[in-house]
């Protein structure tokens, strides 16, 4: 172990390694390439050996197997990470900005009285200091943040680094914690899966996506009409689901579905990183938003600065008119 090591929390969600884990390995390698030290992946689960193979880009894979870690609860996860950090004394701890990461990264920083940076999209080393580029204000602003103290707790935005493919030593080490895992005051009870019967937006070739700019529930019907004409389905960004205008099964983004349709027509969606994460793989992205500075125009193929609600009936008519 070395004070230049970088620890990656390789998250397991519902018996699957989270994709962001491989991205974190790349991010960690970008640090150790400059500072020396090893990339160490940490897997917390009931049976970590089955995930170790995919983490071969790490120099070491540390497994902590415990029935209390089979499903996420903050107390046991935090205690386990804290013990490994105390043993490894890494330069940095990288955690994905996921449902779990949003709990663990700030709580770990607080426990360790360590510096933390949220929304990390790039990491460099300058004169021994970590320099983290961080996206905030809905991707409308970037910050260059210097972090001198160790360990730095960095919460990394998914999609910011290419997934690691190269092979390191990947030595697997099973560890046991110094004391039995205490379940603590917050306990996992069960997963609640989405109700079957709604449209599966992950299987659609054409998606008409509505965001805050759709303005009111009644206008979702306009989007449904367009989706019907195009032979697709309607999906949404989080604010629309928060309003109860569409069910959670239609939500695209970090906490919703990941979709890769042939057409993603984004109406009144700003394109915050959390939404982008769920639709950036679409073949063709056409974005409509009245805000010329909406981040979605930075990654859409086509864009238009018009009112989505005004556009919808005109687009239905134009498509029906045929060539």
């Amino acid at each position: 172990m070395s004070v230049q090591d970088v620890l990656v929390v390789a998250e397991v969600q519902r018996d699957a390694l989270a994709d962001v884990a491989l991205e974190l390995l790349s991010a960690a390698r970008s640090i150790t390439a400059a500072t020396g030290g090893e990339v160490v992946a940490l897997v917390l689960s009931a049976d970590g050996a089955r995930y170790a193979g995919r983490l071969a880009a790490a120099d070491r894979v540390v497994l902590i197997d415990d029935p209390q870690l089979a499903a996420y609860a903050p107390g046991p996860y935090l205690a386990a990470i804290e013990e490994i950090v105390a043993a490894e004394r890494p330069r940095a701890v990288l955690i994905g900005a996921t449902s779990i990461g949003w709990d663990l990264a700030p709580m770990l920083a607080a426990r360790l009285k360590a510096p933390m940076v949220a929304g990390a999209t790039a990491i460099e080393v300058s004169n021994g200091e970590l320099v983290v580029t961080s996206s905030f204000c809905g991707a409308k602003m970037l910050a260059e943040v210097g972090v001198a103290a160790s360990p730095a707790v960095l919460m990394v935005l998914p999609g910011s680094f290419r997934p690691a493919a190269e092979t390191g030593k990947g030595a697997v080490q099973s560890r046991t914690l110094s004391k039995p895992v205490d379940p603590g005051p917050i306990r996992f009870e069960q997963f609640i899966l989405p109700q079957a019967g709604d449209v599966d937006i992950t299987q659609q070739d054409i998606l008409v996506a509505v965001g805050r700019g759709i303005q009111q529930k009644e206008n979702v019907e306009l989007a449904e009409q367009l989706a019907g004409v195009l032979g697709g389905a309607v999906c949404a960004s989080r604010p629309v689901v928060d309003q109860g205008w569409l069910p959670a099964t239609r939500q695209v983004g970090k906490s919703g579905m990941t979709v890769k349709p042939k057409l993603y027509l984004a109406l009144g969606i700003s394109g915050a990183p959390e939404h982008q994460e769920g639709m950036k793989g679409s073949d063709l992205i056409i974005a409509v938003n009245t805000d010329p500075n909406a981040p979605i125009f930075d990654f859409a193929h086509y864009g238009a600065e018009v009112d989505a609600v005004e556009l919808l009936p005109a687009l239905v008519e134009a498509v029906q008119a045929g060539g």
Partner: protein, 256 residues
């Protein structure tokens, strides 16, 4: 149940954001402010719990920007008590804000503290879990829905995961929850009720000392992102844009 809700003001992203002359901070003087969206959901969740199971709801906020308007709206929605924490200058970074809010919240004897799971301008930490740490309470966030547990002294929460999957967790109180969304959208309150609340609501002030500790990170510069690529923009009226989009879809074979 004694519920405390934390409410913050954040810059409205509809307006352009400016960087101040230091190059390391947002120019808050040129920004307009709105209530942090997930804090608004936290308040709604608290009011729903009050309506369904009985609770006292206290809102705590740092006194900055146009927070009074937000707090009067909170009172109109059903908050029982409003506590403002005076600020000297701009809002502090999340670790310092957490320390200040914790000092104000400790005397309130909360069973449950609800705060938005995030604010879009958080960079050096995340308020809700840092607040839990300052209060010495357990924390779980990304919560969409809170109900009292079968046993007294607990709540049952739903934590959101990708794929519209929820994890149901039991939380022993007292605790802090980071709310992503309430069980229903934040309610609309008519202006007339807000005006009535302005006449009837007395804000309390709870002065606390600003933390002396220096920030653990240094912001070297802020800047708007330069796009790596830019969409090909379709100009014209809605009708003209519609015709262009329909033509593109035909070219790509996506419609006949």
């Amino acid at each position: 149940m004694n519920i405390v809700v934390v409410i913050r003001q954040v810059p409205d992203l509809i307006e352009p954001l400016e960087v101040d002359s230091s190059g390391t901070s947002l120019d808050l003087g040129s920004a307009s402010f709105i209530v942090n969206e997930s804090d608004d959901h936290a308040l709604e969740q608290a009011i729903l719990l009050k309506e369904s199971h009985g609770a006292k709801v206290t809102v705590v906020a740092l006194d900055f920007g146009e927070v009074d308007n937000t707090l009067y709206a909170a009172a109109a929605k059903g908050a029982d008590r409003i506590v403002k924490v005076p600020l000297d200058g701009d809002p502090p970074h999340p670790p310092a804000a957490a320390a200040m809010l914790a000092e104000a919240i400790k005397p309130l004897g909360a069973d449950l503290v609800l705060a938005g799971v995030q604010a879009h301008n958080e960079l050096e930490g995340v308020l809700a879990p840092l607040l839990a740490s300052e209060l010495g309470l357990p924390y779980v966030g990304v919560i969409r829905g809170v109900k009292p547990g079968a046993n007294g002294g607990t709540v049952v929460v739903c934590k959101e995961f990708p794929g519209a999957v929820m994890a149901q967790l039991s939380v022993r109180l007292p605790a802090v929850l980071g709310i992503l969304g309430a069980e229903q959208a934040p309610r609309y309150v008519p202006v007339s009720r807000i005006r009535a609340a302005m006449k009837s609501t007395q804000f309390e002030e709870q002065a606390v000392a600003a933390p002396a500790a220096e920030p653990l990170v240094s912001i070297r510069r802020l800047y708007p992102p330069a796009p790596a690529a830019r969409a090909e923009m379709l100009a014209g009226s809605e009708t003209e844009v519609a015709a262009r989009i329909a033509a593109i879809l035909r070219e790509k074979g996506l419609v006949k």
